[in-house]
Symmetry: C2
Subunit: 692 residues, 2 copies
């Protein structure tokens, strides 16, 4: 249970994080696989830190064992609880499968759960609290996840893809599941991964890329054993396994001549195939599907729609309790840039909103948070407000495809928090998080939160050591979207860099906050002024190329000319995309005056001399933010030096090197973007700074 014995970085679970728990006399009360996990975790901690642990089953009257303990972790149940737990029980209410109660009963800290997963999450909450969990004044408090499904999507290929590599959009080495077309045999690392996930609250992963290539298609059938092996390792940590499948699987691996969702043979094939999956993996989560998108097969081939397609798989999964995550990322990627009436931002809504009500109960429509593709800044997708009769999951990108590819420090917690707090129907209405939790719709259907994983075989798991904070924050926000992202960062800092192990814990905290707190907005400043996106190198998506996608078929334009820049998405004169939003946003975005500055160029084409709320012209705003962004990176880089000698040297060096690259890259962004707009507009910088 220690930090990987030097085979990988311990991340937020170094042995020191268990100091407070491991020094106690502990009783673990209850039965079941995940209770065994709790017991093993506590036993390992006690071995490290001098405490000791007892175990009793639900059938035991726990009182005897509870004598003289400091901490009880107990499942509620028919049999009598240990006395301190019994005392706390009254406060618990219904905790559900994953909830837990934490309380003090006299001198004893008590964690109560109705079911084993709750006990595991309670344990990791104890770890987060550390010594504070044993202070007399600890209030009794139930904890329940806001979202039931908290999922990571791995875009991992089993066989290395000639262009996209082992992990599509992966910046942390190879896959932790697969290598050279076969499963990796390092089950210890996989176990450590499950443990890290459980400690953040993540309870589901999909184990292969949504672009399902030939080898990966076979995971559903003759290579199912590979998936089962992963499921077996992750099960003790409450993490269920999902599989990305090809919609064409009946043809590709099934030998049928069609994958038509209304064909009886196809339905039968999916039913039989899915039954076989559940025979092997009884708690299998379900399927994840990218259909009719960027070249992937889908129901359109057969003249069917996405409801037909999703319901086909849902029907096969329903008898076993599985769900299908059907991605709404569908658009025309062979667009003609000359055609200004087509708007990629409209696509998901146009495709899916008309289908609301047609999806089976166990279909979850997985919607990217914005209408485009994980840009540093986008408005929230209008699809989220458009489908009250459909279970919706919101998809975030933990891997930093468009936000610095784990070479730039970019803490995404604040971005996600903004998205999750956004209220599609205006102030007073439900938030995006509430829609995903199912609390916005009439029948309370929950969808959940999905994040594209940033994890790989890298020693630090995430390439950039500080990108661990993104993975951690994703899990924590999925558990409770209202958490303060600064407080999440504090949790992550104190767990990852335990105060007992660094010379100057206050400096560590200060510096990491200084580097990370504003890092997403800093990244936005030097890359994406006023909501313009996609000014990136085509293909790699790293580094600037202002016109890189301007004449491409991908539907990602800014329309800069010598007079102005931006995409007119208004109803009055543009693509009408603003009309996909309910009020008040429909009017706010439509209005040049009311549109928020950070989305100005996403919704409007304006002259360079237009003055947004910031008070400077658009072109001067571009110059200013780009100069400022680079200066902020320079300052981050300087701040980081203060931790030399305070943190582990290898980690410090790695981050220092990456911050050097970030400064180089940010300077390149600044110079290319400023030069581009200077050459177009002819407007010199008001402050006389150098533009090339």
């Amino acid at each position: 249970m220690s930090g990987g014995d030097g085979r990988w970085h311990a991340a937020w679970l170094p042995p020191e994080a268990f100091g407070a728990v491991g020094a106690r006399r502990v009783l673990v009360h209850g039965d079941g696989l995940l209770v065994d996990t709790v017991f093993a975790e506590v036993a390992g901690a006690c071995a490290d830190h001098g405490g000791h642990v007892l175990r009793s089953g639900l059938a035991d009257a726990g009182e005897a064992g509870a004598v003289g303990v400091d901490l009880v972790l107990a499942l509620t149940g028919a049999a009598p609880l240990p006395a301190p737990a019994e005392a706390a029980r009254a406060d618990a209410g219904t905790l559900g499968d994953e909830g837990f109660l934490m309380a003090r009963a006299g001198e004893v800290t008590v964690v109560l759960a109705d079911a084993p997963p709750g006990l595991l999450y309670g344990l990791f909450h104890l770890v987060r609290l550390g010594a504070a969990a044993f202070e007399p004044g600890l209030p009794a408090q139930p904890h329940r996840p806001a979202l039931r499904r908290r999922m990571l999507n791995h875009w991992d290929n089993v066989a290395v893809h000639p262009v996209m590599g082992q992990v599509e959009r992966g910046y942390a080495g190879g896959s932790i599941f697969w290598r050279d077309g076969r499963p990796r045999r390092d089950l210890d690392r996989l176990r450590a991964y499950g443990r890290l996930l459980a400690a953040t609250g993540i309870n589901a992963i999909s184990v292969n890329n949504v672009n399902v290539h030939a080898t990966e298609a076979r995971l559903l059938t003759d290579r199912l054993g590979d998936v089962a092996e992963i499921a077996d390792v992750l099960r003790p940590y409450g993490v269920r396994v999902h599989l990305s499948v090809s919609f064409a699987a009946p043809v590709v691996v099934g030998g049928l001549t069609t994958a038509d969702p209304l064909d009886e043979k196809v339905r039968e094939w999916w039913a039989i195939t899915t039954r076989a999956v559940y025979e092997r993996i009884p708690d299998f989560g379900g399927y994840l599907v990218k259909a009719d998108s960027e070249g992937q097969p889908g129901p359109f081939t057969y003249g069917r729609d996405h409801a037909d397609g999703a319901n086909l798989l849902a029907a096969a999964l329903a008898p076993h309790g599985g769900v299908v995550h059907w991605r709404a990322f569908v658009y025309n990627h062979r667009q003609d840039w000359r055609d200004r009436s087509t708007d990629r931002a409209r696509a998901a809504y146009d495709h899916f909103a008309p289908l609301d009500g047609r999806f089976r109960d166990n279909v979850v429509l997985q919607v990217k948070y914005g209408p485009m593709d994980f840009q540093a800044r986008e408005p929230v997708s209008p699809v989220i407000a458009a489908m009250p009769a459909t279970r919706l999951a919101v998809e975030l990108q933990v891997t930093q495809e468009y936000t610095g590819q784990q070479r730039h420090a970019c803490y995404l917690g604040p971005c996600w928090s903004e998205v999750l707090d956004f209220r599609p129907w205006g102030p007073g209405g439900p938030s995006v998080a509430e829609v995903a939790a199912g609390r916005a719709g009439p029948d309370g259907r929950d969808g959940g939160l999905a994040g594209v994983s940033n994890v790989g075989g890298d020693w630090y798991w995430t390439g950039h050591p500080l990108a661990q904070a993104n993975l951690y924050a994703f899990g924590r926000l999925a558990w409770d979207p209202r958490l303060d992202t600064g407080a999440i960062l504090d949790e992550w800092i104190d767990l990852t860099f335990p105060p007992s192990t660094t010379g100057d814990p206050a400096l560590v905290r200060q510096t990491l906050h200084a580097v990370l707190d504003d890092s997403w907005r800093t990244y936005e400043r030097y890359t994406a002024p006023l909501g313009v996106g996609f000014m990136v190198r085509p293909g790699s998506h790293y580094g600037p190329d202002v016109d890189g996608y301007e004449y491409s078929p991908w539907g990602t334009y800014h329309f800069a000319d010598r007079d102005g820049v931006g995409v007119d998405r208004t109803r009055a004169t543009g693509t009408g995309f603003t009309g996909q939003y309910p009020e008040p946003w429909s009017s706010v975005y439509e209005s040049l005056d009311r549109c928020p500055d950070e989305l100005l160029l996403f919704f409007h084409h304006v002259p360079y001399g237009h003055v947004p709320h910031s008070g400077t012209t658009v072109v001067q705003h571009i110059y200013d933010t780009h100069f400022a962004g680079v200066e902020q990176v320079r300052w981050m880089r300087q701040r980081w030096d203060r931790l030399a000698g305070v943190l582990d040297r290898a980690l410090h060096d790695r981050v220092a090197g990456l911050l050097d690259e970030q400064l180089r890259s940010a300077t390149e962004w600044r110079d290319q973007i400023n030069t581009y707009f200077f050459r177009k507009s002819g407007v010199p910088d008001a402050h006389g700074r150098r533009i090339h």
Copy 2:
């Protein structure tokens, strides 16, 4: 000797091309490997066409055999010649190794050569002439190649490169030499290739990419046998084999710790290694080296210069009669786009001109024809006039990296002809071809012509069937740079589409001329207005991306802003590149008024309203040429339809499909470039045509 028995396209040597020779009574007189080839060729032709052939050796008195023949192919020599040959001999003069005399002696056509290669070239000249070679009025004419070294460089990788593939910048399938890291075993095809080369006059090839990767480095040592096998197959066609080598070979494959050209162990290693090469391949041509360029190793690593580097290899080759082709394509590919003082166009001159006189006799400096990199339009490289004491080879690109990648029909003969006819010292001075032939320098040192091959495993050899004309024209121009490129095209057409095999030979000729004659200038019109280059997709170099290289480290800029476009390379206000030319060009290029339109933006940055000689403004010129270029492609496409049913259907279909793609691509070029400059300049098209 027939057309590959359907295993590949016969190109310019279908059986029908041998009709005139093969119907004769022929005497082949002389000894030697290449005379055997001549005999075998004639014997094959006679078997096909009803003639017959006799053979006599140099020791024979040939008179008896010569009785009643129509054609004598004879080596001159000590022994008596067959009577008709003896009669012609007086006209021959000195023919040299590769020259031949063609004449009529009474009723007999005579081909005389001093050495076997000349006899082989004479045979193929007969084939080109066809029936005309047997007409009574045929004048006696000696033929000697203008350039001794007529070389193709294959950029073929033995092992498939993960990014560049099997053939770097290859558009005709895989390598004809290598597959999957091993030699191909199809020696028949290799033999057919040698035959095609000999028929154009090409007498040397390098068999691997100038970017020498790990596997390819071993061709010099433990995999030398693979090279020898190729040499054995090509030797009967007079084609010598050269090898691209890594300058770091002593380290990479030799196990030394340095490749320093002044290190005694390094010199010794090269001497021993080279001796071993010649033991295995006695007529080995030599080495081709790309050093200190685009990441390749070179003498700079050791603080030495290119003369040190080239002389090292030359010393090893000299005892065996080999040469080193040392490429002058050296520049800083990590340039900072912000730095306008650095000019990639200057690089080769700056690096090499100071070294003139320091190279050993058997070093050939191989200079790309232009100062940049095979753009559709560049000025001739100033290096060509700068090194009178150095043997210079001019390098052309037969593979269409920047000229449509064998998806566009683009006959490069006229481009090369312009380059070869260019007179670096002005009218009256020697031409580029004369420099390459060694007739410009005081000591007559010859360098030759090198072309980057466009050949691959494709059935048509060159991907685009019409791209065969480029390979053919390259060989013919290397033999005689003064040839008219329209006449070369006639030769190619009549050989490739023998009049006896098409229903309408005149239509075939007309149509192919219509499609090809102006195709290079058409390509220039829709891609590279007024000398601007590199507006291509980075990496692939196919299709437009106006700003693709604008902010890159590759040194390939156009500096377009809202006011104007072009690169100021003048001495007065720019990079001073014009100063690398001798007069009159130095003044011509320096002058905005005298600079030729087609190079205007290569040498000058001008406002969009500037009016060049064409009489329209720069921006209108851009619009006009781009609209015109697309219309010309449309017309080419229509003209091609006339050959439906006249030519072989598969070939016609292939070209028709490629012309469709050319029209699509040309339209894309037109629209992106016109839109780009419209957005920048704000100037509408004077003729109101649609710009997006």
